[in-house]
Amino acid sequence: MDSLFLQQVLNGLITGSVYSLIAIGLTMIFGVMKISNFAQGDYSMVGAYTAVFVMAWVGGWLGWIGSVVAAAAVVGLLGVVTERLVFRPLMTRWTDIDMIMVSIGLFILLDNLAQLFFGATPRMIGDPFGGTTVNLGVASTSLLRLFCFFFAGVTIFCLELFLNRSRMGVAIRATSQNRFAAQLMGIDINQVYRITFGVGALLAGVGGVLYGTLFAIYPTMGALPTLKAFAVTILGGMGNIRGAIWGGLILGVAEALGGNYIAMEYKQAIGFFIIILVLLVKPSGLFGRKEGA
């Protein structure tokens, strides 16, 4: 294993961890509500702009960590609001395709509002760690990128704690496995929807800060993460959280290695090629259960 290989694996893991974060929100919402939310990446965009404002106000690494917290709060709230005002009123009566159209409508609305309020000019968040680079021996990267990876990991860890240890977390998992049975347990399904959407959006918001920190921030920036999140969700199995975690990392590493060893111009295509392969072998995704379970 040469160092270029390890360097690419590291690059892929860092990008992939952000894919995972955004995809988990998507897969949670799909699992619980059976809604394919095409506005997921736009929650990330809102999170990223939250960071722009917090960074302008506070700045430095403290501002950056503050951005993550602020984005979680702002976007989590936005998720709750959109669930209540947009998705829930229509959910029980409309077909899945209708709901996809609704989420696409929301995505267009958020894009246009962002364009209106923030302008089309892309922005970047300055490196709060002054551009410090870290040499890990076999591979090197910046402290900022490592922090993004770390924050993605911490967020996922907190989510796992919530889903596995808390009463509401287990109820969310239960609802995604069997909505009817969950109702018979006395779980308030509307509350589960609200919290799922809130948490799902929150994750996308935190993912958006990290994505915006690694890359750039502009009104239409959400489209690519949405696409990646869908790819990851399909790869890991629709509604499967662990699948989304691993799926994101796998997609990130596959893109990096595929780009390096096969062809850079097909970097994006390689990820999708892997997905098609996986689906041919295992239609329910890498971590999916058998159909109908």
């Binding site: 287990v170 009817f180 049975a181 109702q183 347990m185 779980i187």
Partner: protein, 235 residues
């Protein structure tokens, strides 16, 4: 305790229950018989607040509860163990049981009930950490019943608990149900395919056909009825 009056339920334009009236008194074990598609599950789902009542009333201890959200109905002690078990496959046995106690705040009571349930189903205690999806049909049914018991039911509604189980396992389930009824004194509304046993244990029974109640009597009287014998007891 539970009074159903002139209930009407439909799926779209297809009416599943026409003008159904029945009652369950405290301490009873009431059996509901009916062929496939008669509307038994629909009735239980409507009581649980999953399906909407278009017309009629469901009265629980003097209060109308039709069309309340399901979690409020569970809160009042009306618990359903659904058809086909419906355990949460990717949750462990312990987590499934914990979901049964979802609405409860009395930690001590839950702990006590958990112990009782483990006494009733020692198998579940051994398999606490196992994913429910990996259990056999009989084990899953026991888990579903145990989960229902942890909800602290005043009325336990069991929808075809023996469906698809091997005869030996089925016998075990029957014993457990009788035990729950006799030893714990929980009121039971039972939907069951095996009419012979279900009528034998029932204080009273109803027969539902095409969404209407066609007969109502004590279990013993219905078991002796020639029409019932022909249709449900295979004579």
């Amino acid at each position: 305790m539970l009074n159903i009056e002139n209930l009407k339920v439909a799926y779209g334009k297809a009416v599943a229950l026409h003008d159904v009236s029945m009652r369950v008194e405290e301490g009873e074990l009431v059996t509901l018989l009916g062929s496939n598609g008669a509307g038994k599950s629909t009735l239980l789902k409507t009581i649980s607040g999953i399906n909407r009542a278009l017309d009629g009333r469901i009265v629980w201890n003097g209060k109308e509860i039709q069309n309340q959200p399901s979690h409020l109905i569970v809160n009042q002690g009306i618990i359903q163990v659904p058809e086909g078990r419906a355990v949460f496959p990717d949750l462990t046995v312990a987590e499934n049981l914990r979901m049964g106690a979802f609405t409860r705040r009395d930690e001590d009571g839950v702990a006590r009930d958990l112990k009782e349930v483990f006494d009733l189903f020692p198998r579940l205690k051994e398999r606490r950490a196992q994913l429910a999806g990996t259990m056999s049909g009989g084990e899953a049914q026991m888990l579903a019943i145990a989960r229902g018991l942890l909800s602290n039911p005043k009325l336990l509604m069991l929808d075809e608990p023996s469906l698809g189980l091997a005869p030996v396992v089925r016998e075990a389930i029957y014993r457990v149900i009788q035990q729950i009824y006799q030893e714990k004194g929980i009121t039971i509304l039972l939907v069951e395919q095996n009419a012979r046993w279900a009528l034998k244990v029932a204080t009273r029974a109803y027969i539902l056909e095409n969404g209407r109640v066609t007969m109502e009597d004590t279990g013993a009287a219905l078991a002796a009825n020639p029409d019932v014998q022909r249709a449900y007891l295979g004579h």
